[in-house]
């Protein structure tokens, strides 16, 4: 096959070559990789210097090392693109895929219109190689392939495909013969799908959509049938729904936090509280709690939701007085300098947001996934973006400006008026917080039910330990330049946000009220949760 390709290409070159026919110019069969940034001029218009610096950095940090690593040679770079040659087609395509996959990561935290996306074309051709340039229609074809590639993708020619199809574990989607500009013969084009599963996806896309629609319709029918059949016995379905809700409505739903019945102290009467929580549970989730999202979700639109606000249970909130406090500590460089912050009165949820509270948002299709685990356990595996989605939904559904607490508010709330290392003093005491090695009980797989440990002086549970908690602020490596009015610090690099509290998987150092850490904004991790805040 290689011979055939070589013949075709050299024949083409000899007949159509527009370069000087001097016999001394070295010719070589090479895999040519052409890359180019899509929408470069638009990016330049947006931010000329920034884009230029980023492109240079990508070239230095990603493109040049990737080419070298795959034994290729960077022949030339243009403002927004590059040409490289490889002796091996496999290495050439691999290099293209590596560049594209790395770009996915680099772009992940950027807004869509700031993303730098490369189009890459790879062709096998007989080319004339000079010190800082290459010629021949093999090069032109590579650059045409690049120009028809979609941003973020690698398109290869038939010649390359024949060489690599059994050697590189990728999916290849044939796009047929394409006529490309100024090249007489049509070129066979393949799209590289780095993930073979994506190949099947592409092939079965239409089939899958059909199946999806079909199963969705089936579920809707099944669940609506269920909905109307189940409460048939005592009366009309709608009456049933309201009578089932009515005993619960006056109690905790719309009442202000202060209007709530006194929360029984969990250490004193965990069983009562448990029971209280359990008896409310069926009201919120009409089907059995173990039921899966696919059953729950289609049911939601069918269900008679005349007053969504009335059925929504708001998180239990504690109102905190305003005041000034010393934020930070000298225990870790990220917590310095210790500085005074003034906090206005605000309310913060008594517990981290629970699985049940989260799943109401999921049932309303405003949150991205249905959480598993005990209803009264804190929800976990949420990213900062997920948490923001939740507060956005909660604010809309209740028409109250629910939000994430600011970092200063969180620490103020966690300290509960104390200046010690932990809210209960400077020494670790067992049974105060859910952290690794802090409790007498052995480490557990899941964070314990919220409210299993002692509340702090503000009556807040799990301010330290249990789950890491997102706050509104972007990450800064220390408090140099931090606001002192209790507002969120959102200037600067918001690719990562602040998490507080430490989790059940962290040791006692992380339970300290001043402890702070960061995590990528849109990445989920199994120990991350959050609580909500509200300004009066």
């Amino acid at each position: 096959m290689r011979e055939k390709v070589r013949d075709i290409n050299s024949a083409r070159n000899s007949t159509r070559s527009n370069v000087s026919p001097g016999a001394v110019t070295p010719r070589r069969l090479a895999a040519i990789v052409a890359g180019d940034i899509s929408g470069y001029s638009r990016l330049m218009q947006l931010d000329e210097e920034g884009t230029h610096a980023r492109v240079k950095r990508i070239q230095r940090d990603l493109i040049e090392p990737s080419i070298a690593e795959h034994h290729g040679r960077l022949v030339k770079t243009t403002g927004d693109g590059f040409f490289a040659i490889f002796e091996s087609p496999v290495e050439a395509v691999r290099c293209g895929v590596v560049i594209q996959q790395n770009m996915v990561g680099r772009n992940a935290s950027l807004p869509r219109d700031h993303r730098i996306e490369y189009r890459i074309g790879v062709n096998l051709g007989d080319v004339i190689i000079e010190e800082d340039d290459i010629y021949g229609d093999g090069v032109n074809i590579a650059s045409r392939l690049e120009s028809i590639a979609e941003p973020g993708q690698v398109f290869i020619s038939g010649g390359i495909y024949e060489q690599i199809k059994h050697k590189l574990v990728c999916g290849y989607e044939s796009l047929g013969d394409r006529k490309v500009k100024n090249i007489t013969d049509p070129v066979r084009v393949y799209r590289v799908l780095p993930d073979p599963a994506a190949f099947n996806k592409a092939r079965k896309r239409r089939e899958n959509i059909l199946i999806f629609l079909l199963s969705f319709v089936l579920f809707v029918i099944a669940s609506s049938a269920l909905w109307y059949l189940l409460p048939q016995s005592p009366g009309k379905p709608r009456d049933q729904a309201s009578t089932r809700l009515s005993p619960d409505v006056p109690r905790p739903l719309l009442g202000k936090p202060s209007a709530q019945p006194a929360q029984p102290s969990p250490s004193a009467a965990p069983a009562t509280q448990e029971a209280a929580r359990q008896d409310r549970l069926p009201v919120l989730v009409p089907p059995a709690p173990k039921q899966t999202p696919s059953q729950l979700q289609p049911a939601a639109p069918v269900a008679p939701r005349t007053q969504p606000a009335a059925t929504l249970r708001e998180p239990e909130m504690n109102m905190l007085p305003g005041g000034a406090f010393m934020m930070g500590s000298n225990d870790d460089s990220s917590e310095k300098p210790v500085h005074q912050v003034t906090i206005k009165p605000f309310a913060i949820s008594r517990y981290p947001i629970s699985v049940r509270e989260w799943n109401e948002c999921a049932a309303a299709k405003a949150c991205a996934f249905v959480a598993t685990g005990r209803d009264d356990a804190p929800v976990t595996n949420v990213s900062w973006s997920d948490a923001r989605q939740f507060v956005g939904w909660l604010a809309g559904a209740t028409r109250k400006p629910y939000r994430l607490p600011t970092e200063a508010e969180w620490e103020y709330a966690a300290r509960g008026g104390t200046q010690t290392r932990y809210w209960w003093g400077d020494e670790l005491r067992p049974g105060m917080a859910n952290c690794k090695g802090c409790a007498d009980v052995a480490a557990v797989e899941q964070p314990a039910r919220s409210g299993s440990f002692r509340p702090n002086p503000f009556g807040l549970y799990d301010m330290g330990g249990a789950v890491d908690q997102w706050v509104e602020d972007c990450w800064h490596k220390n408090y140099g330049g931090a606001p002192t009015d209790g507002s969120a610090w959102v200037e600067g690099d918001c690719g990562s946000h602040v998490i507080r509290s430490g989790s059940w998987k962290n040791d006692a150092r992380y339970v300290r009220t001043a402890n702070r850490d960061s995590y990528d904004t849109s990445v989920r991790y199994p120990t991350h949760g959050f609580r909500v805040a509200l300004s009066p």
Binding site: N102, G105, D195, F219, K505, Y519, T521, V523
Partner: protein, 141 residues
């Protein structure tokens, strides 16, 4: 009939999203995780850009399940053995790069420190067998 079976299959799969657990994925063939910089034994003044190298596998955003890909974790001064059946811990000694970063600005107090890379899958689990880099030692002046 094939479609009907597929529908049933799709329904079954849709009902059991939690049953699908991505654990113990095997790393790519010939995959190699390494430090581009710093090298073992380097003495560095102040902060530095740590650059992560990965051969024969791809880097993706955590949470996106592409075959043959993962995301970086940098272990600083970690002496405990890696727990293969648990997510890679997240604390000040286990830095995560779930947005697909291939480099990071690292600032460490003066003294000797060990650095090691671990590749994690979409759910932050190590691969099986774990794909880790050589554990290197650097000295901060």
């Amino acid at each position: 009939m094939k479609i009907v079976r597929l529908v049933v299959l799709a329904a079954a799969l849709a009902l059991l999203p939690s049953a699908v657990q991505a654990q113990g994925k095997s790393p790519g063939k010939d995959a190699l995780l390494y430090f581009i910089w710093p090298q073992n034994g380097t003495t560095i003044k102040g902060g530095f850009w740590c650059r992560f190298g990965l051969r024969n596998m791809g880097i993706t955003h955590a949470g996106e399940d592409y075959q043959n890909s993962g995301h970086h974790h940098l272990l600083i001064d970690v002496n405990e053995p890696l727990e293969v059946n648990e997510p890679i811990p997240q604390d000040k000694n286990h830095l995560h790069f779930g947005a697909g970063q291939t480099e990071a600005r690292i600032e460490l107090p003066p003294g000797k420190h060990t650095l090691q890379l671990v590749l994690g899958d979409t759910k932050h689990f190590p691969f099986s067998p774990p794909l880790v880099s050589e554990k290197i030692t650097v000295t901060i002046k």
